[in-house]
Amino acid sequence: MRVLLRACSIPEAAAIAELDGKFRLLQPPYALHSSPEMSETDLADALARSGYIRQNKEFSSFRDLISFARQIHEEWLRKVGLPTSGSLSAEDFIAEINPLMIWDVIERIDNDLVKAGLYDQAVALLVSIIKSPLSETNPKVKTRALASLVKVHSERAHGESSAKSEGADLRFSTLQDRLVKEKIQTIKERIRNRHCVFELRADT
């Protein structure tokens, strides 16, 4: 597979890649849901107005292309004096957000993190919510967070770990796999339409 890098936005570590004539915007976290397809007009617009710089580099995979986008982004961060990596504690995040957002965060812990098997993140966030001043002033928040925490422990204990791969199903490696599968599917359709009698294996 040859993936062509057509444009990139260095401050955003975003890239516009071309594969088989189709354009795709790759942006952090380089997940399928954050990598929409683009038209040629979108590409022209990105170059004309959105700070994208034209590129013309070939890569053997999306992974390599994304590594390149990350690398030039890191060089940029060093030059502007921004940290190139770091971590985020659950306490800091909970202390920073608007109290009205807390319900949304709890919902997302239940519906996003737990389903993705990200139990450590879910527990850290829920414990931070329970310990936060917000829980003291609003007991409903505490009750809700506690209920979620019980649920997280229960799910973890029951080993419902179908999404153990920490959401890797959405990561760029799978984006690549998916595109390959789509390509195989297209070839299969073509073969079928030509009334060929053999079947193409998914691993070919």
């Binding site: 955003e12 976290p29 170059l47 004309a48 921004l82 608007n98 812990i109």
Partner: protein, 275 residues
């Protein structure tokens, strides 16, 4: 050299007479709808600028929005290259047009480009964050005018030459923005429900460019709208990043998004999520 404010003011009476003619030529019912539409534009629509997260981050941290030339200068200093090189890489095919346009105006390098939009994330096709300027922004701007479309397209001939006469004739002053909008978008206004009018103002094909010389700061940014899809991307990224080492690209986003949340919590900015 064109004086933006002066050129726009010179068109006021013509825009007004075009507007009156339009109403007189239409049926009473359509005329009334067009007047209602123009009043709605006056009341609801604001100058807005669609930007990326790192531009919002810059605004929060530096207190001031940088126009294209200022931003290019900042990039050039950091990257050790020339401002022109940065501008060329950004503008590519539009470089000559944008430079020709700006140079035609007095203090053209101070121009800031926005749009006259009706909330709902503004020109969301461009970027997911919409800085909406306060209603009284015009009072503080050194110059503010509107064009019925994208200046790099409508102000140039088919051969790419800047049309100075045509450009001057199209400029509308702030006081007549609603009439300009009605004269251009009246068909859409009379054929669609009022609830759909924002779409007329907020899409590439029918939008109005706002160009001005002035300072965009946190004090005159009324609100920052963020697209729901962008919010989903960011909040998901942040929650999944808790307690683990975050790589460069994701870290920058998390860093910028957190500063946005903190600014909203501290009421430095008014943040809205729009679907």
């Amino acid at each position: 050299v064109i004086d933006l404010a002066q050129a726009a003011a010179g068109n006021a009476s013509r825009i007004e007479s075009n507007f009156r003619e339009l109403i007189e030529e239409r049926s009473a019912e359509d005329g009334a709808t067009i007047v209602t539409f123009s009043e709605w534009v006056l009341e609801v629509c604001r100058v807005s600028i669609n930007v990326k997260l790192y531009v919002v981050f810059d605004l929060i941290n530096n207190g001031r929005y940088l126009n294209m030339y200022d931003a290019a200068m900042q990039y050039a200093e950091v990257l050790g290259t020339s401002r022109e090189e940065i501008l060329r890489s950004w503008l590519r095919a539009f470089f000559d047009r944008r430079i020709a346009f700006d140079r035609a105006f007095k203090d053209g390098e101070e121009l800031i480009y926005g749009a006259l939009t009706a909330g709902s994330g503004g020109l969301r096709e461009y970027d997911p964050y919409c800085l909406t300027l306060s209603k009284d922004f015009h009072a503080t701007a050194a110059a503010l005018a509107y064009l019925p479309g994208d200046s790099v397209n409508i102000c140039f001939s088919a051969h790419g030459e800047f049309d100075e006469g045509g450009t001057c004739a199209m400029l509308a002053p702030d006081s007549h923005r609603h009439m300009l909008a009605a004269c251009k978008n009246w068909r859409g206004a009379i054929t669609s429900a009022k609830a759909d009018w924002p779409a007329l103002m907020n899409q590439k094909a029918t939008y109005f460019e706002a160009l001005f010389i002035g300072s965009v700061t946190l004090t005159n940014v009324d609100r920052i709208q963020m697209l729901q899809s962008e919010y989903e991307r960011m909040i998901s990224l942040v929650l999944r990043s808790v307690g683990r080492r975050i790589e460069s690209a994701e870290h920058t986003l998390v860093y910028c998004f957190r500063s946005l949340l903190v600014a909203a919590r501290n009421q430095q900015i008014n943040l809205e999520i729009v679907s």
